[in-house]
């Protein structure tokens, strides 16, 4: 199961690569269908995939100890940019998320998706696990700071997901179950307080999630149409290019956040099953990389990145099928869209780097 041959020389993991390519191919097909057969959209998407692939390969060449050295500085730079974006950021869709760097517009929150797990993995790599209380609290503070800066942009969805990726690191360092359960209980108790501080549009989304039929023309419209698309797909689906909901323009953002509705309308329950299997394969391979990692930095980073992928897929599918509120999040590796895809592929690059840069001397493993 160890990479070898040309893949090894390129520091790529064949199994992970195969899983990614499978999902990316699916993505090209569904984007083609969801865009109403618009080749221009597919070409733009393909270009971004190629760019993301390049990023992944580059990332895979950087040895983990190098990443570990950069981790704290990357995190500090990320924090500074999050502050900067709040002050000078470009407004898109009513929120300050973009930082204009002259040549490219850049979302610091995307950087943080990688920088926070890296920082936390760095933080807990210096001491044996489980960590001491001060380090746990330092980790929590880093998570809170990052999430806090993103939630005021405002971008609740990304903020919660980044927080989740950080909290997964705390989970993997061996935080005891009683603390985990205790913390979950505290969060549930705090929900009314969080509600109080939410923006109207966020409250509306939650309310709509709880009862989409209450507002069929406004906020609930997307969810109702999405559920119609999914449900009408049935077990076997309507076939490729057969999505009437997307093609009749009932579905909003059919190539991005709601692409799963189009997919499940066209490919039905069996297609959904295959897609979930595909995700499971990629996530399990990533977890395996974590399992086999030779030090704590690699373990924690790889495990956190794996679970981030899971969280993203779970939240997006839960959202379009009406299980979770609409938070505005793409489906990883499938949705059309630039920066999220690139971040994701950079993450895969890190995973491959962790797997392929190992000391010749195998660490002694105990039984």
């Amino acid at each position: 199961m160890e990479p070898r041959g040309w893949l090894m020389r390129l520091h790529l993991d064949g199994w992970l690569l195969a899983g990614i390519l499978l999902l990316i191919t699916t993505s090209l097909l569904v984007v083609y269908s969801a865009s109403g057969g618009n080749m221009a959209v597919v070409e733009r998407h393909g270009l971004r995939i190629a760019l993301a692939f390049g990023g992944m390969v580059v990332m895979a060449q950087i040895p983990p100890h190098q990443l570990m050295r950069w981790a704290p500085w990357l995190f500090i730079a990320g924090l500074i940019m999050l502050v900067a974006v709040l002050i000078t950021g470009t407004i898109g869709k009513g929120a300050r998320r973009w930082l204009d760097l002259g040549i490219i517009r850049f979302q610091p929150s995307e950087l943080m998706k990688l920088a926070l797990p890296m920082f936390l993995a760095w933080l807990y790599a210096w001491q044996p696990l489980p960590p001491s209380w001060p380090r746990l609290l330092a980790g929590l503070a880093a998570i809170a700071m990052t999430a806090g800066l993103i939630v005021v942009q405002p971008d609740l969805g990304t903020s919660l997901l980044i927080a989740a990726s950080g909290l997964f690191v705390l989970f993997f360092v061996g935080l005891s179950w009683k603390w985990i359960i205790g913390a979950l209980g505290a969060v549930i108790a705090a929900l009314p307080v969080i509600w109080h501080f939410m923006y109207d549009y966020q409250k509306q989304r939650v309310l709509t999630f709880l009862n989409p039929e209450s507002d069929p023309l406004g906020a609930g419209y997307h969810i109702i149409q999405s559920k119609i698309a999914i449900g009408s797909g049935g077990v076997w689906g309507k076939g490729f290019l057969g999505s009437t909901q997307a093609h009749l323009a009932f579905l909003p953002e059919s190539t991005t956040d709601f692409i799963f509705s189009v997919f499940s309308e066209e490919f039905g329950l069996w297609g959904v099953g295959l897609l979930l299997l595909g995700y499971t394969f990629v996530i399990f391979r990533s977890l395996y990389i974590a399992w086999r990692a030779e030090n704590n930095f690699g373990r924690l980073l790889a495990a956190s990145l794996s679970m981030t992928l899971f969280i993203y897929a779970f939240v997006n599918i839960g959202m379009v099928s009406g299980l979770l509120p609409v938070v505005g999040l793409p489906l990883p590796l499938i949705s059309y869209g630039g920066s999220a895809l690139i971040t994701l592929m950079l993450g895969f690059g890190i995973l491959m780097s962790i797997h392929t840069h190992k000391s010749r001397l195998r660490p002694v493993t105990s039984s």
């Binding site: 044996p128 999914i230 797909g233 779970f314 839960g318």
Partner: protein, 612 residues
């Protein structure tokens, strides 16, 4: 938590245990998602399939209710009546041709080839999602019969529609006009948003002129419909702004009286309220039933109307032009007096003809009127007096003077299709005919013959201006205050009274041309003027004998008049086409109409005026 000792194996074990937990989370999470998807795609499949395939959220237009038209007594002249109709949405009907066949089997007597042809025509240029209302109505039994079989007819809906109804049919057809189906040409100029859901438009009369006010603004409702196009529920609704009701100045009773007096003879009667210019009655005979046009008139019925020699479709009061004949004389006389062409005492001797440049211009009275002054020239309608007067005035003064009374120009009434008539002058003849003006033409123009043409409305308006002693008015039908147009410059008020006294004598002195009519207006007194307009020019040696002349060559009978003489309440013009002499055929109608109006309005009869 740390015991301070580094146990790499223990650490790795802890971590790997958490990895296994994480893998379990992943499986659990995806299992939940798969269960959710199975619930949506298997358990709720039928429901969502229906929603995806058939149920559509669509916008329905709610057409505004067209404004009603009332007469001055608030009696409705154009009403909206609910009727059952069938409307077709071709988008929803898979095979509309088959549906039409089934439908014609159900209602064979309603469905002719023309109906189908009309629908096919509509289908060609109309967008598919618009619905088409079949041009016939169903009664309650038929509606029930359709409703019971409606499941056989997807895309065809039974609805109630408001249909335009004209309770007075032919009596108001010309004034109120009618609505009809929007045709292709009209469609191009209309605001498609506004007329969505409306398939009729004002085609003539008030219905056309005030289309914008009557129409209103459509509303809409957002509805969820099933595959058959049936509305399941209304999601949102914006009510329409209904059309404005229009109250006319017309008095339907007087209108009825005018039609009764005309008694189907081709002709026209116009009655104005002199002070305001309000149209009290405006009759055009023969009439036609405006209701025929609402659903789209059949070709045969339309051809019948078009080919009728009496041309019922023409609105004669504004669209018919006639030589004004002798009715022009009071105006010509007044212009001459005001311009001091003649003095009030000017007198001529009439031998029964006037000779000019070797031509003989005969008076209607062969033996002549003897000595004639202005008064007698009007009351007895002496042609010779006016032949000579016209020559003295010249055509340009006659033209200019008559223009101040509104001749040779449209009145500006709120109706479409008004003609402007014609009073010739030298410039006109040069421009249109390319010929110089001859004095002989002035001679006949001064008795309203030759090129001169006027509409009955123009005559009524000029009469009203005379009755007003110079105050000009714009005749109008919509009951709203219309400011007086202005005032003719009066040089000597006595000239006006002199002419009006002469017109009074037409009815109320024994030698007046309408002396026989005085009983019909009694106890009121009326000022008037008869006119008999030649349709065919007679040769010099020919004698006019009404009984020998074919109907269409007989003279038009005209009369203008107003009553009472002081504080006039009604100004009337009457034309009976080919009716013969104005005194016999037209004057009695005017007198009866005026009396009817004055009595209805309880106008007290005035004292007999002192003889001049």
């Amino acid at each position: 938590m740390s015991d301070g000792h580094y146990h790499p194996a223990h650490e790795q074990q802890l971590f790997r245990r958490r990895i296994l937990w994480a893998a379990a989370f992943v499986l659990l999470g995806f299992a939940i998602l798969f269960a959710r998807m199975a619930y949506l795609q298997v358990m709720l499949y039928d429901q969502y399939k229906g929603l995806a395939e058939g149920n559509r959220i669509s916008i329905e237009v709610i057409p505004p209710v067209r404004g009603r038209i009332y007469d001055r007594n608030h009696i409705v002249l154009a009403d909206n009546q609910p009727v059952y109709v069938l409307s077709i949405t071709p988008e929803k009907a898979a095979d509309w041709e088959k549906l039409l066949s089934q439908l014609s089997a159900l209602f064979p007597y309603k469905f002719d080839t023309e109906t189908r042809a009309q629908f096919a025509q509509w289908l060609k240029w109309q967008k598919k999602f618009n619905s088409y209302t079949l041009p016939f109505e169903l009664d309650e039994i038929e509606a029930a019969r359709f409703a019971a079989r409606s499941h056989h007819f997807p895309g065809i809906q039974l609805t109630t529609e408001l249909k335009r109804v004209y309770p007075y049919g032919s009596m108001t057809a010309h004034v109120v006009g009618y609505v009809g189906r929007i045709n292709e040409k009209e469609l191009k100029t209309l605001d498609p948003q506004r007329y969505k859901g409306t398939d009729v438009i004002g085609k003539s009369g008030i219905e056309k002129y005030y289309e914008d006010l009557l129409m209103g603004q459509p509303g809409w409702r957002q509805v969820e419909t099933n595959a058959r196009g049936r509305v399941i529920r209304v999601l949102e609704e914006q009510p329409p702004v209904n059309g404005q009701d229009i109250v006319l100045t017309l008095d339907i009773h007087l209108q009825k009286k005018a039609y009764a007096l005309l008694d189907q003879r081709p002709g026209a009667m116009v009655a104005l309220h002199p002070e305001t210019g309000a149209v009290l009655a405006m009759a055009s005979a023969p009439g036609y039933d405006a209701n025929l046009f609402v659903d789209g008139i059949s070709r045969r019925a339309y051809a019948q109307l078009l080919n009728n020699p009496h041309r019922p479709l023409i609105n004669r009061p504004i669209g018919g032009v006639y030589p004004p004949g002798s009715t022009i004389k009071p105006f010509v006389a007044l212009i001459a007096l005001e311009h001091k062409i003649i003095s009030p005492n000017h007198r001529i001797f009439d031998p029964g003809y006037f000779e000019y440049a070797g031509h003989i211009y005969r008076d209607w009275k062969r033996q002549g009127h003897g000595y004639v002054d202005v008064h007698k020239a009007i009351s007895d309608s002496c042609d010779t007096f006016f032949y000579q007067l016209g020559l003295k005035m010249g055509i340009d003064l006659i033209h200019q003077g008559l223009q101040t009374f509104g001749f040779d120009q449209t009145t500006g009434i709120d109706l479409p299709g008004e003609l402007k008539g014609l009073i010739p002058n030298k410039a006109w003849k040069r421009r249109v005919r390319g010929q110089p003006w001859y004095n002989g033409e002035t001679i006949i123009a001064s008795i309203g013959q030759g090129y001169s043409l006027a509409t009955p409305l123009q005559l009524a308006r000029a009469t009203a201006i005379l009755a007003n002693r110079g105050t000009q008015i714009i005749p109008h039908l919509r009951k709203a205050s219309v400011e007086p147009e202005g005032h003719i410059e009066i040089r000597n008020r006595e000239n006006w009274e002199r002419v009006i006294r002469a017109m009074e004598a037409v009815l109320h002195s024994p030698h007046g041309t309408a002396w026989r009519v005085r009983q019909l207006i009694a106890p009121y007194r009326m000022a008037g003027k008869t006119g008999t307009a030649q349709v065919k020019r007679l040769q010099a040696e020919e004698e006019y004998d009404e009984s020998k002349v074919p109907m269409h060559e007989r003279d038009h009978a005209l009369f203008i008049g107003f009553a009472p003489i002081k504080n006039p309440q009604i100004a009337i013009s009457v034309i009976v086409e080919h009716g013969g002499s104005g005194s016999k055929a037209a004057a009695p109608l005017a007198a009866q109409l005026a009396k009817y109006w004055l009595e209805r309005n309880h106008v007290p009869p005035q004292q007999k005026r002192r003889k001049p």
